[in-house]
Symmetry: C2
Subunit: 354 residues, 2 copies
């Protein structure tokens, strides 16, 4: 370990992003991106005239983008904060609501980044196991006094928690913040956004990386009571006031305003998911019930690691987590129908060759 590191930096647990290989052309089903390009309105909005204004700082208040998001979700802008991806927003939230004497609880199997941020802020973590069937039992969280983070739908399982369960958590302790990470909600989950006006301790985090085809634009946002949003802004203005660049502000607003394209893309993903689930089940796979743009699957005939490696050798990237009780699974992003057909064909061929 470097002699220059602070003790706080020495204890970090950096996150490992999914592979982004540049050495070959893969069918990339490993990082839950959309297979569709951004809305044509994004392309139009990112005009030559806007690019020529890059010499000027972006609006630190993200005004126009926050207004567009607020309008889409029937809120006012004071209920919105935008970040450089939802990872940044989660970081703001961990700092705003957690610290000495205020720990954080999340599931043992969930988005790996929560662990990284827990270490970043030196927080006490209460890691609560999912049930054997990977469902989340909110009763396990009921008495936890710190902040609760629930990915809903969860990653990498794709499984959703009913809104009524989140509601019970919110009501059990009105002084406790519940962060619902809805990165994947647009593919079938039940959003908690309609509960924002009833519960001022509810923060909903979303992203434009999946359902709005802007992973490369880095636009995440949170919706919540004005009090929670103000707390997040305290952290933002202490860390990076101009946190969203000009072109992403423009792209984000254009994307959120194109409801028809959003509906078309998310419907296509749900359709492709249904198809892929059926096909893989016919090949003997166990597929967890997914409300996300990915599926979590395992087979008795091939290990998760072997499936990941053999698919990669044959030009298809999926994600395998070398970890505890999910080691048998691989996570497969739902891409275009062509990509899903290629995946199923390849899996089928691999199984025949065993």
């Amino acid at each position: 370990m470097s002699r220059f590191l602070s003790q706080e930096a020495a204890r970090l647990a950096p996150y490992t992003p999914g592979e982004q290989p540049t050495d070959a052309q893969y069918i990339k089903l490993n990082t839950n991106e959309s297979p569709f390009p951004p809305s044509p309105k994004v392309l139009k909005a990112l005009s030559r005239a806007e690019i020529l204004k890059l010499n000027l700082y972006s609006d630190p208040t993200c005004g126009q983008l926050n207004e567009a998001i607020a309008k889409r979700y029937e809120l006012s802008p004071e209920h919105v904060i935008t970040g450089n991806g939802s990872d940044e927003i989660l970081g703001f939230a961990f700092r705003a609501f957690c610290g000495e004497g205020k720990g954080v609880a999340y599931a043992d199997i969930t988005y790996g980044f929560y662990k990284a941020q827990t270490a970043l802020f030196g927080l006490d973590a209460n890691i609560i196991p999912l049930r054997e069937d990977f469902t989340l039992n909110v009763d396990d969280y009921m008495d936890f006094p710190g902040t609760i983070v629930i990915a809903n739908p969860n990653a990498p399982t794709g499984m959703a928690v009913p809104r009524a369960d989140i509601q019970r958590l919110l009501e059990a302790d009105p002084d406790r913040v519940v962060i619902v990470d809805e990165a994947y909600v647009d593919f079938g989950g039940e959003s908690c956004v309609p509960m924002i006006f009833r519960y001022d301790n509810l923060l909903v985090v979303q992203t434009m990386s999946k359902s709005r085809s802007l992973a490369g634009g880095r636009v995440g946002f949170a919706l919540g009571s004005a009090e929670l949003i103000a707390a997040l802004n305290r952290v933002k203005y202490s860390f990076n006031p101009y946190n969203v660049n000009r072109l992403s502000l423009i792209a984000g607003a254009a994307a959120v305003e194109d409801e028809a394209y959003f509906q078309k893309c998310t419907a296509a993903i749900r359709g492709n998911r249904d198809w892929a689930v059926r096909e893989l089940e016919q090949l003997g796979f166990t597929v967890l019930p997914s409300q996300a743009n990915f599926i979590f699957v395992k087979s008795d005939r091939i290990s998760g690691e072997d499936l990941y490696r053999k698919l990669k050798e044959n030009g298809i990237l999926v994600r395998w987590f070398d970890s505890g009780r999910i080691r048998d699974f691989v996570r497969i992003t739902i891409g275009s129908l062509d990509q899903m057909v290629a995946l199923v064909d390849e899996v089928s061929r691999l199984l025949e060759d065993l």
Copy 2:
């Protein structure tokens, strides 16, 4: 204060960015942006084809951009890290090198953001006054055991520290990190980059916001020993692995590769600065010796606050800091020659009306 805030968030000292008004067309000389658009190569690089790929995540390693920066500064990519503006890079550095028992020292008059980040990470700060003439005496820092941050040239004074002084600090304690914030170095300062191979405790932070006309693109970077850069990456991967978006990666690489445009723009700013300094001095102003793209000026005939307010009323924004011994000054960004002429005309008229 909100009942939801952690004690760490309650003690924050959020930064106030310069005004970004949308209510009127101002000659904007308040946030040190470049008056020139980004390089034509940036415009060309941000093609329709690249925009169509926004559905895919950006490269978390910032590979191509880091290579372009490394090439420009005659380093290898392991000496480079890129951030979402240099503010983010500074945040990574404060976390990587400072913490419990490892405080930070910086000048009483310098970039206000250091104070915000000191509070963010709960650090002990040693605030060291500049001399009466606003020069920085490195001997005042010689025995400080924590991390030292020096803006060079300094903001808002524009005054530079000789490289030899920084060198003395680096040699006095090889286990102490010295962060040299060279946001404004391209307008006449003496860069410490050539010393990176000699001192593994030197971190140089730069930005594309000023000299490369990309403030709205949010591209900052740090150059240093592989050991320091690895430490910054530990923090980055704990906070926001995909921290630079696709279009900014492309824009940054194109900007850093267009050396001719960079030289032309920075030379123009230096020329306009020389002109503005002469004119304001003829109007009786005291102008601190600036190596930056702004000047820090005061007049015996009008207070800093009055000058700021009257210029704003007349459509010209400059920055005034309501703080201690710099209260008499205003900071004026060096813009185009037309903008400087308009400024000098307006100042001249204001003084005549007194």
